[in-house]
Amino acid sequence: MTEQGEDQRSGARDGARARTLRRALWGAGAAVAATAAMIAVTLPNGASAHGGPTAAGAAASTGGADGAGAAAVTENAAPQGPQTGIGPLTEAEVDRAKSLAARHGTPPGYRTAEGTQGAEYLDTDLVDAPDATSGTPRRVEVLFYDYGHDQLVKQTVDLTTGTVERTDTATGVQPPPSNDETRQAAALLIRDPLGQGLRADFAAATKGQTLTSPAQLRLRGMSFNAGEQSAPAGLDQCGTHRCVRLFTQVRGGPWIDTTDYVIDLSDHTVGRIH
């Protein structure tokens, strides 16, 4: 921390470049610590820390555990196939809802983020149904974004009858970006003049590699809506437009702070909060 503090003081003279570099360095320290913690958890049986198969009793120890962790742990697979009632959506249900919505089609003026005819798929969720019983047919909401009219489109799908019950649209509301949108936002930032700091930090963190693709980064997208929070004048279109901020990490490496940058997917521009 001490050296990094020194960096920040020089950053005051050297502008944003030094500041982002300092953040990357700070993040590097954090990433190392997290890796060490994972090793401590998983060494006993060599299982992967993230989603690997686990046997009962695999929890042999956390760092400094007293043996209580040896209590048997059971695992239950995600539900599969068609369902009734109100449990988790299955992969098959999500796929079916998406294809029913797609088959229903969209008006000709609808556009995806890439500008092709159609609507950009965002998410699928179960309809809130307080009166649902164990036999209630599954009704699902499929969310799309129509870049042609900058509007959110919700199709309510009955999975039992295979019909789209209703379609609702609204402007000015911006749910979380899909992974595709997040990648597109990162691609825009990488190419943009404002991406210079990101490219430089990436090179510094990877011993000189060139950042050309979002695939080189671990990304988490956030929607940004000036209607919901403060935003500088240059970003006041966000909310009407679909805008995305990014948490960015070098794959297997440090964080690079990009949360200042706002990528407008509706008009393909990049702006800054500060």
Partner: protein
């Protein structure tokens, strides 16, 4: 926050081995088979119905005999959603339904420097960011997986386990024959949680269902302080050596949405209680408590000796008192820079499209505004939904450096007249209803 702090010891599970909770449902896996040999398992003859349909319910009978049952799923934005929550004390013939749905409704994190704000549910999503829970994080428990559409994969997103919570009660008495007798028991909780990773912050969304009927909702933040938010005097606290790295102070305003289903009916009544000084008696001050029915939508502020309860229109306890659930608030600093975070409690008429306390993006609600404060417009409450706001102003400290110790915020729902006596009352004293005073 005392109660919450007392329950922080999620990992202190050694007592689990001594007091194995019975796995009565299918979310028990192999442990359920072992538990079937326990004598208490025969107490209820009829198998529990399948309240969730094809999916596995979460259901456990705690050592004292209280059974909690609920359905669960993961929503991309809201994260863990618990539905059809029911409570069945030892001597109740049927489960008592409590909530149709209980879930987070927003986690808003603005930084004091005025530079940045994160709407963690509506902009990112707690289900979208749900991570695998490893066996060491869920000792003695069951880990449940669910498909997360945005991630395009199954995530081991749910831990269901049990944890001791210390004294249930203690009482030294003298029996009818003049012999001293001590009644005491230890309580336990069904614990249900998921974990979401939002950048460097990680959040635990947890619900504890106690054997005495208390429901505790809490969110814990851990992971790392933001590596990029440093600021000046007054908006940050020096972290690490010297006084030049001031980690920026910030807020976590957490909202929960509670859709009640008391005794199988959504037509609950809401009451506000206030206790005021009403003169001086000969021995102490006189305090008078009054009830105010909340019949229309309301945006409410906490006050000294003020509390709310949701009262069943469909069920009474053995004393013929209407069953109710009391909102028990712990300390909260509401964030006064947004309208919607400025109040501690909202009660609105149910609408399916109103799910998030801010940034509510459902197009079916277009034109109604996107935050809960906008929905309070005097509508009559026939199906009340409660929105509980708990704010925590986080001024970082040296101890919060990586990994940051969990800081919790939450509230409780406690049963008020749901049963004629506590479900934990020992059998020898259960005939004392109405005799004890």
């Amino acid at each position: 926050m005392n109660i919450l702090d007392a329950r922080r010891a999620l990992g202190a599970t050694s007592a689990l081995l001594l007091l194995p909770a019975l796995f009565t449902g299918t979310l028990g896996g192999t442990a359920a088979a072992a538990a079937r040999t326990a004598p208490a398992a025969v107490r209820r003859t009829a198998p529990a119905p399948a309240p969730c349909g094809t999916a596995r319910p979460i259901t456990r009978t705690l050592p004292s005999g209280t059974r909690w049952t609920m359905c669960w799923r993961m929503s991309g934005t809201k994260g863990l959603v618990l539905e059809k929550i029911s409570y069945q004390p030892k001597k109740e013939p049927r489960p008592i339904t409590v909530l149709a749905s209980a879930a987070l409704a927003q986690v808003d994190v603005p930084y004091d420097s005025g530079s940045v704000e994160y709407n963690d549910l509506s902009d990112i999503g707690f289900g979208n960011t749900a991570v695998d829970i490893g066996p060491s994080e869920c000792p003695g428990g069951s880990i449940g997986s669910a498909y997360i559409p945005q991630q395009g994969q199954n995530v081991k997103a749910l831990c269901v386990t049990t944890a001791p919570h210390g004294y249930a009660y203690r009482s030294d008495v003298t029996d009818a024959h003049g012999n001293p007798k001590k009644y005491t028991a230890q309580g336990s909780d069904l614990v249900v949680f998921s974990v979401s990773q939002l950048g460097w912050y990680e959040y635990v969304t947890q619900w504890n269902f106690s054997d005495d009927g208390t429901i505790t909702a809490k969110v814990g933040a851990t992971g790392d302080l933001s590596p990029s938010d440093y600021s000046g005097q007054g908006t940050g606290w020096p972290i690490g050596r010297g006084d030049h790295d001031r980690a920026t102070s910030h807020y976590h305003s957490v909202f929960w949405r509670l859709d009640f289903d008391l005794d199988g009916s959504s037509r609950a009544k809401v009451e506000q209680y206030d206790t005021k000084r009403a003169g001086q008696g000969s021995g102490s001050a006189v305090l008078k408590t009054t009830a105010t029915p909340v019949t229309r939508e309301v945006a409410a502020t906490s006050a000294l000796r003020r509390w709310w309860r949701v009262v069943s229109t469909a069920g009474r306890n053995g004393d013929q008192h209407p069953r109710s659930w009391e909102l028990v608030q712990q300390h909260s600093d509401h964030y006064d820079a947004h309208a919607y975070t400025s109040k501690d409690l909202y009660v609105t008429q149910y609408r399916a499209c109103e799910q998030l306390a801010s940034g509510n993006s459902d197009p079916a609600c277009a034109g109604r505004g996107t935050s809960v404060d906008r929905w309070v417009d005097g509508e009559t409450l026939s199906h009340p939904v409660m929105w509980v706001n708990v704010g925590f102003h986080h001024i970082p400290r040296d101890e919060d450096q990586s990994p940051m110790p969990l800081h919790w915020q939450g509230f409780q729902l406690s049963p008020r007249d749901v049963t004629a006596m506590s479900p934990l009352t020992p059998d020898a004293l259960s005939g004392d209803d109405g005799q004890g005073h």
